[in-house]
């Protein structure tokens, strides 16, 4: 066969037909694009609805098949709430700071078993989530679990070394408060808080300790005056807002005790590999949950975000080698989102005024982008299921 290809000029009729065809194609593509956007925007229409009232969850018992499930949490109480799925004392998934009257979706991958749901106020009764073994269709082949021994071991080393520092700075904080030394206490607080947030992912796995260390006043019935309100936010209220060490001794002692308990728990806990990425996304989302409406980010909120980003950086460095072979595209997105956030935070801390170099909306957007790309990791590593 040696037919030469002659560059022939198409007839006007063919040209018109081609134009119409390509116009139709564009319309079709736009339609698909819009549909996919819709799918991203409202993934939860078929999910399970949980109403949270001032006294608990409705329904208080929920049964779902195993696998990836979406829940729509509707806040029907008169204050901001949080909703969690808890396995024993380990948090599997959570949504924080849902404003009254609003709804938030939450997607979690669940294995068969019984879980607890926290429903608004910490004093409210827990709900029950019963997950039944479903058909095992569409469970993706998992990456060999030996692939995670190295990263998980390295993360265990990281948490061990960070905990050593947290214990000593918690001790310093307690001593400075006992001595009434405000500036030493503020310094020790910043140190301890930074490490607390490096460890936000593993701490978040222990619902009770996480509450004692990191709960906000709004989570308690009597807010700032609630005797159960302890931890970093209580101490910050004294040290930075009232500029005083008065009445903080009990909370500081409690902090030291809770850090000791945390150390004991982490020593015997094994962190599920999925949590490396999902847990890191979750702690960033929690930070975002608290800045959804008010766009004013205070200096301490920024310090928190810097510490969370440092913790996420460690996770990214651990998972990078796995992602490199499984999904270079996702790794690229993840790394550029991390770099973008680090650059924003750097620019912000370098600026002469404490806040202002980077627009708050920009900061929220880059943080959201990093959280989203962390959420994409497990899918790429086919860990789910």
């Amino acid at each position: 066969m040696s037919n030469a290809v002659h560059p022939a000029t198409p007839s006007p009729r063919a040209l018109r037909l081609g134009l119409v065809m390509s116009f139709l194609l564009v319309l079709f593509a736009l339609g698909v694009f819009t549909l996919s956007l819709e799918a991203v925007r409202s993934p939860n229409e078929d999910g399970y609805r949980v109403n949270v009232t001032s006294s608990g969850c409705e329904p208080n018992r929920l049964e779902v098949p195993a696998g990836q499930r979406t829940f729509t949490v509707v806040n029907q109480s008169d204050r901001a709430i949080e909703w969690e799925i808890v396995d024993g004392v380990m948090v599997l998934a959570e949504r924080e700071n849902i404003a009254p009257g609003l709804r938030q979706p939450l997607t979690a991958t669940l294995k068969a078993g019984d879980y607890a749901m926290t429903c608004g106020l910490l004093s409210n009764p827990h709900g029950t989530l019963h997950v039944v073994a479903g058909d095992s269709n569409a469970e993706p082949a998992a990456l060999s679990t030996t692939a995670f021994i190295g990263p998980l071991a390295e993360y265990r080393v990281y948490t061990t070394l960070q905990l050593r520092k947290l214990r000593s700075s918690a001790d310093e904080l307690r001593d400075a408060i006992a001595a009434g030394d405000l500036s030493a206490a503020q310094q020790a607080y910043r140190e301890a808080r930074r490490i607390d947030l490096h460890l936000a992912m593993p701490i978040g796995l222990f619902s009770d300790i996480d509450q004692r260390l990191n709960a906000h006043a709004d989570d308690f019935e009597q807010r700032e005056n609630d005797p159960a309100f302890v931890g970093f936010h209580r101490l910050a209220g004294g040290l930075f807002e009232r500029q005083s060490t008065a009445d903080l001794s009990t909370a500081a002692e409690q902090l030291v005790t809770d850090v000791e308990t945390l150390a004991t728990r982490l020593k015997s806990a094994s962190i599920p590999p999925q949590q490396l990425a999902d847990g890191s996304a979750r702690v960033l989302e929690t930070w975002l949950d608290h800045h959804r409406d008010d766009t004013s980010i205070e200096a301490r909120d920024l310090a928190d975000l810097i510490a969370l980003t440092e913790g996420a950086d460690k996770i990214v460095s651990l998972l990078s080698p796995l992602l490199e072979s499984q999904s270079p595209e996702i790794l690229h997105t993840l790394e550029s989102n991390l770099t973008a956030l680090q650059r924003d935070l750097q620019a912000d801390t370098d600026s002469p005024t404490s806040r202002g170099a980077v627009d708050d909306a920009d900061l929220l957007q880059t943080t959201r982008a990093l959280a989203n790309s962390l959420s994409d990791i497990n899918h790429a590593l086919t860990l789910e299921g």
């Binding site: 060999s144 679990t145 030996t146 995670f148 021994i149 190295g150 990263p151 998980l152 071991a153 390295e154 265990r156 080393v157 061990t160 094994s270 651990l318 080698p321």
Partner: protein, 282 residues
Amino acid sequence: MKTSKLPTAWLTAGALGLLSLTTTAHADVAPEALVGPVADYKLYVLDNLEQLVTHTEDFTAAIKTGDVEKAQALYAPTRVYYERIEPIAELFADLDASIDAREDDYEKGVEDPDFTGFHRLEYALFHDNTTDGMETYAQGLMNDVNDLDSRVQGLTFPPETVVGGAAALMEEVAATKVSGEEDRYSRTDLWDFQGNVDGAREIFDLFKPLAAEEDADFVARVQDNFDDVEATLADYRLDTEDPTAGFESYDEVSDADRRALTGPVTVLAEDLSTLRGLLGLN
């Protein structure tokens, strides 16, 4: 190697290969059970590196101030920390060469300009009895040890390297310690010997509970051989109550004891080389 023995050796190797394949296929150790021991091993290595850094500071300071006697005394107690963590230290080929290579590794031997590190300093301290001209080598060693420290801190330990490290250390003992070629000028080979055994035993102890679930006889045999080696080493301690006092010169080790050490050391190296398969890491 005698060629007449080759067929038997090949058959044995083949049979061993099949055996280890079977063990691998039946390994029941859950991968997540290895996370804790691998993490604990890194903490052990970091502790030893911290010791290596401070001891190297003292050792190199003695050389810079020209204190030959003190530098000689600090040579072996400093190296021990490197010898313990060799499976990890060796992962960084450039530093392993500049820190621990022997003159045999270089074309021009002791005269080779690239010959640096512990053994270059050993030659000056114990052969020439001087610290003259050693400042640069001392500083180079210090820089390399600091570099090693920071690289290891950032390293995710490969589990296969950690578990395989026990055998690697005992092979190192069999290859260069029993022969007495490692510290040929200082004759402090027994210090290094003990360092390698400590490092191998640490790895074995960390994975022992998991290995025992798979093969209790294996664990008992390895423990016995470790005990035999350590008992022989203990005979040459300068002070049985004080391990920091160290060992007699390797010249003092009798031929009978050198032969007595060869047996259990070789068996340990062979046994420990099956640990990876036993734990499902092949």
